[in-house]
């Protein structure tokens, strides 16, 4: 396995004046409530160990107060950790000097914010070019690069507007263009789409995926929305009260939740839209392809498209292909079973 782009290990954050002193209690297993009651300190992050691979979208999901926004701010040290290691591209962020940190923020990591955080007194063009002009690049270059990315996010023609003249969705497009024009390998997105209405949010998610197909950035995306997390994530990290409850491939988490908290979460999900054929197929291990197969499907098709294709007939079976290669078979009965969350199916089993 290649070296991860970003690697967090043993990361702790405790908010309060004596954070270093109470750290030992947390390491001794004290929880968030106890720490607050007994020592008056707030536990932000509790022993975080996450590797984020280059070119992947790592989604950190959790409810409010779970520490996800705190976590993302540790990567560029907008928040200082109490203890732990933050390695970005093999370099320990904690060891950086003030200049080194500023350089890392300019050249390595750009950020998109929930509340957009654009400069209200600058035009859209100047906002998008801000990261470049901060580095001291000539104005013409900044404008050219900014215009290119504004066009890429679908905002050409709005260069000379002010942020207040744009809708929320358009403002966040400016935010994304600003992050892209920085041309950094890493993009930090802090609940970037949470302030937008559902339709615009879907648009923006599609835009992000489309951009990612082309740019292969390392994206760390924070969200409280599981649907969004499952749609975007290559690697999903679920946070609760500051610690990682489960992390891994999103399909895997969905099918094998290891904690009641996650089971609660995943029970409300439209599984047909999220799950893909590869997660539920029977792998072809030297076995034979069924002769009565109704056709061939791709490993990355969603179950929803499969249901549409079979017309709801559960007796169908399909051959699963990954490109040219046959990799497995899919029985529609299996598919229907996978649509029911494990908790629900167990509850049903108990009743009968």
């Amino acid at each position: 396995m290649t070296q991860p782009m970003v690697s967090l290990s043993g990361l702790y954050k405790i908010f309060g004046a004596r954070d270093k002193d109470v750290l030992q209690h947390v390491k001794g297993g004290m929880g968030k409530e106890e720490l607050l009651a007994q020592h008056g300190h707030v536990l932000g992050l509790n022993n975080i160990n996450v590797d984020m691979q280059a070119g992947e979208i790592t989604v950190v999901m959790g409810l409010s107060g779970s520490g996800k926004s705190t976590l993302i701010r540790h990567l560029n040290r907008l928040i200082e950790p109490t203890a732990g290691e933050i390695i970005v591209q093999g370099e320990d962020v904690m060891q950086l000097s003030e200049d080194g940190l500023r350089h890392a923020r300019q050249e390595k990591m750009s950020m998109v914010f929930q509340k957009f955080a654009l400069l209200p007194h600058k035009t859209v063009l100047k906002n998008a070019g801000m990261p470049l002009s901060v580095r001291g690049e000539p104005e013409a270059d900044c404008d050219k690069e900014a215009a290119k990315w504004l066009d890429r996010v679908g905002l050409s023609g709005f260069e000379n507007h002010y942020p207040a003249q744009l809708s929320g969705g358009m403002q966040q497009r400016v935010g994304i263009a600003r992050a892209l024009s920085a041309n950094t390998p890493i993009m930090l997105m802090d609940e970037a789409f949470s302030a937008l209405d559902p339709l615009i949010r879907t648009d923006m998610q599609d835009l992000l995926l489309e951009l990612q197909k082309e740019l292969h950035k390392t994206i760390i995306f924070i969200t409280h929305d599981l649907d969004e997390a499952l749609k975007l994530a290559d690697h999903l990290v679920i946070l609760k009260d500051g610690f990682v409850v489960q992390q891994g491939e999103p399909q895997h988490i969905l099918l094998n939740p290891n904690d009641p908290y996650i089971e609660d979460f995943v029970s409300d999900i439209n599984r047909a839209r999220v799950l893909r054929v590869r997660s539920i197929m029977t792998p072809l291990v030297g076995g034979k392809v069924p002769k009565d197969a109704h056709g061939e499907v791709d490993v990355n098709d969603t179950l929803e498209s499969m249901i549409a294709r079979s017309g709801g007939d559960t007796s169908h079976a399909y051959i699963v292909k990954d490109g040219e290669q046959t990799v497995g078979t899919l029985d529609m009965t299996e598919l229907v079973r996978a649509l029911v969350p494990r908790v629900a199916s167990e509850a049903g089993a108990r009743q009968s």
Binding site: L78, A104, F113, P120, H121, A164
Partner: protein, 342 residues
Amino acid sequence: MAFYDKLFSTLGLSDWCGDSGDEAPLSLADLAARAGGEEASGPLVPIPSFDNLHESCNRVWQSRDVTNGIEEGFLAAKPALKTVLDPITQPLSWMLDGALWLFEAMPWFIMVPLLVAISWYASRSRPVTIFVAVSIMLLAVVDHYDVAMQTLSIIFVCTTISVLFGVPIGIAMSKSDRLQKSVVPLLDLLQTLPTFVYLIPLIFLFSVTESKLYGIAIILYAIVPVIRLTDLGIRLVDQDVIEAANAFGMKDRQKLMRVQLPLALPNIMAGINQTIMMSLAMVVIASLVSAPGLGVNVLRGIRNLELGVGIVAGIGIVLLAVILDRVSKAALTRVDKTQVKH
């Protein structure tokens, strides 16, 4: 027999106090009492003030010693203060005199269009510009043009200096909580101290013929709002935007120039507006110490009971105030409009 005699004798301090045979009358009340041949009958228990205690014990100060002490202390420090302050503040005299000369030397047919043009440039508002033109012509018609220009020149210099010093002080205060805590009481003092009180120590320090005397009084009084509102404005800048500036690696200087100052500008402009208004208020009082301008006419009205002179000059000041206020407010709203918050 004074009331507190017993106190000092029980404390065993009678010897230290010495003979209270001070026969010189201390106050008018004493004189009256002596003339009447009987002791002044005060309240049952006199308040333990310096004067009352002094009656029982010679060693205790009298209240007049306090005021005398302050005066003597100030006079003792005066030479040192003067050697330091005189050269530092000398440029202020030059600026005030220079501006006065310039405003007076400029022929009216250049000055009036210039002022109207400046109002247009600052406010970009037709009603405001027309109002300015009409007001100046009104002042000119009643032969108050020259004095109005004198007042304007003083305000011009004092406001400029207040902004030049006030904005950096406000910025420094916004960066440091400790500095803010120590400066705020001083600003409170400057703002609440009766305006005449400024003048007293200044008269001791500088000669009344020097223009820096009133310059300093005006600046001390008028600089407060611009400091306060710069500090406030920078502290009120949206924290999300500051965080974004940090996340993209801005240096402190870039953050100040590109984010904090532009976003605090409406507040700073409001502070400048207040500063202009307060220097106008002070310029009238400063006419007591030889500041030229409309204030002199007001003073004349009071001194000689020339009702008409005083009222015309007063209305002139009101016109000037409204001009300055409207132009700076229009400039403020213009600045505000370009940065509507989301």
